[in-house]
Amino acid sequence: MEEIKIGVYVCWCGTNIAKMVDVDQVVDQIKFLPDVAVARNYKYMCSDPGQDMIIRDIKQHHLNRVVVAACSPRIHELTFRKALAKAGLNPMMFQMANIREQVAWVHTDREKATKKAVSLVHAAINRVKWHESLDKRTIEVNPATLVIGGGVAGMSAALEIANAGKQVYLVEKSKKLGGYAAQLDLTFPHFYSARQLIKPMIRHVEDHKNIRIFKPMQINQIFGYMGNFQSTLQLANGDETKLKFGNIIVATGLQPFDPSEITSYNYGKLPDVVTSLEFEKMLAKGRIETCEGKEPKNVAIIHCVGSRNANYHEYCSRTCCMTALKFANQIRSALPESNIFDLYADMRSFGKGCEELYTQTSRKNVIFLRFDQQNGLPEIRSTNGEEAVSMLIEFTEQFSKEQVEVPADLVILMVAMESHADAKDISHIAGISMCGNSFFIEKHPKLDPVATTSDGVFIVGTCQAPKDIPDSISQAKAAAARVLATIHVGTIEVDVITATVNEDICCGCQTCVSVCPYKAISFNKEKGVSEVNEILCKGCGTCGSTCPTGAIRSRHFTDQQILSQIQGLLSPDNKFEKM
């Protein structure tokens, strides 16, 4: 075996790290460790000069392992691996010690932070000794795409891809395409007809030669991996059809919040308290009326129903303010003599043309009243027929701090957007993580808002977070771009961090087979050993820690690597007692 030569680089990250960690001391302490050939610190390791320094050292000092102590590997591991590759070293011969997010930024005692940094670097040095060269492989990408959900986001994505000449399978759970947007009357802020926008879209999707629609249809299972997924669909006539596709776009959409759990609004008890969606239907029918079929004289709109409230949903549903303004305008047109009251918390008319609509709406005699959820929700109560008006909404108006009651014959609750109930199932089927409020988690909230941590699976529209139609469409197209790019290139690189079975040791107990969530392990009866499909394998390593014989190695996370890391981490020199 060749002699191990490790280069260790400690980054200052400007002052980010250097402020809390004595980088010089870190270097001093680890440079005498066995196998460390070079140890340096530098202002910005990730910068071009920083990377060049590593490359130069690899060439000059014949380094074969590199450790960089800097930020989180989630940020720059790839950057440095690329640098290693540039220098002709296998990129996996690299280990990062996270001394920024997990040391410099979270600790206040410089001495202890430095000590901890040393221990992390020591651990990384120990670990990197056991690293092995792993080579990337590529696999073919199936050019077809599966789109789950036939709402406006799903359809946009489907059209975008189909228009580029690629096959799309569109699966919709209900009988109709169009989703939530198809139930809307007009859009904000320009009052275009939602129906007229969605209908042609549905027609284009239905007529498209590259789109195959399955509806009503539910996806129960998806096998495979990025580039080569497959699923079997049960057709209505009892037949089965097997689909193969390379990418998945999930657009499961939203469901409205059920306001009946908010007692003070009496939804469900007072017949003239309706949700925004119910009111939308009234508008589509052209009938704004109370349960008795009368045109209401007083209409009240209440914002933030189920949103921005820790008891229901902490998040803002993003579209309700504008929808409420749209409603106010529509009511004003249909019932010019009516009184319109708009009870809001903060008016969030942030989009292009939206603030202007807010101003315009003010000028149409819509009375805006502000409530504050922290000080109690408005109470809707019935007048029990004792007055001309059927209901009164009582609350403290926040601009005047006056306790007021608002007369209302019809109350519209602007209900929150929730992730669709089906999203939970889809998250399991497609392997997407969910955050606490059931919206899917994107790969990166800023720079990768449509990708997920599962490669080849994208999320678009309201299943990611509440948003309006244009934003959903932007996202759909963004996902389509990603999909088209992979299809166009035709191949994708497979991750090298997978499990592998040592057939000389595997005894065929098959414990691992059932453990794998991706069905990547199968039992080879002939050989009497388990085998890993390395494309399906996502490298979680669960099998590795399940295998009682140690036959399964989790590449790049081997027992040996982690054990050495632990030993480095706990090397007596690195303990606080030694201070």
């Binding site: 996270n98 930024w105 979270v106 961090i497 390593g541 632990i566 030993q567 303990k575």
Partner: protein, 141 residues
């Protein structure tokens, strides 16, 4: 000087490690006694690692994974939970306080929770005092 425990923490890459990173990017302060090792999934955490940590002088071991149902690999965290329960039984037999290992769920968005967990666990261990197993192995013959 107060006893300064050394704690090894195994975090899954997707939720907990990201959560710990978030604690960092949000500059939440927590105890420096926690030293983190990243694994892809809490399901990768082998009891061997925990034992090795104690053998090398850890005073406590913190395991973190995604919340139940949220595992990036679907079910790795459940496997971790089962092993954790088994290990605790074993630890009782070894005379090691089972409180010295802790499994908790930290999601990618729970930077604050991670910081709090790190602090509270450090306090627990500080309170329990040093784990003697390393000394016992090395010196008790």
């Amino acid at each position: 000087m107060d006893f300064e425990p050394t704690i090894v923490s195994f975090l899954c890459n997707w939720c907990s490690y990201t959560g710990a990173d978030l604690a960092g990017t949000s500059r939440m302060k927590y105890s420096p006694n926690i030293r983190i090792i990243r694994v892809m999934c809490s399901g990768r955490i082998d009891p061997t690692f925990v034992l090795e940590a104690f053998k090398n002088g850890a005073d406590g071991v913190l395991l973190c994974g995604c919340h139940p149902g949220d595992c990036h690999y679907q079910s790795g965290n459940y496997k971790c939970l089962r092993r954790y329960n088994m290990l605790k039984k074993y630890f009782v037999q070894l005379g090691i306080r089972p409180e010295r290992i802790r499994l908790d769920w930290i999601s990618a968005s729970e930077g604050k929770q991670f910081a709090n967990l790190a602090d509270s666990f450090t306090e627990t261990i500080r309170h329990l005092g040093p784990c003697k197993i390393k000394n016992v192995i090395e010196t008790y013959t």
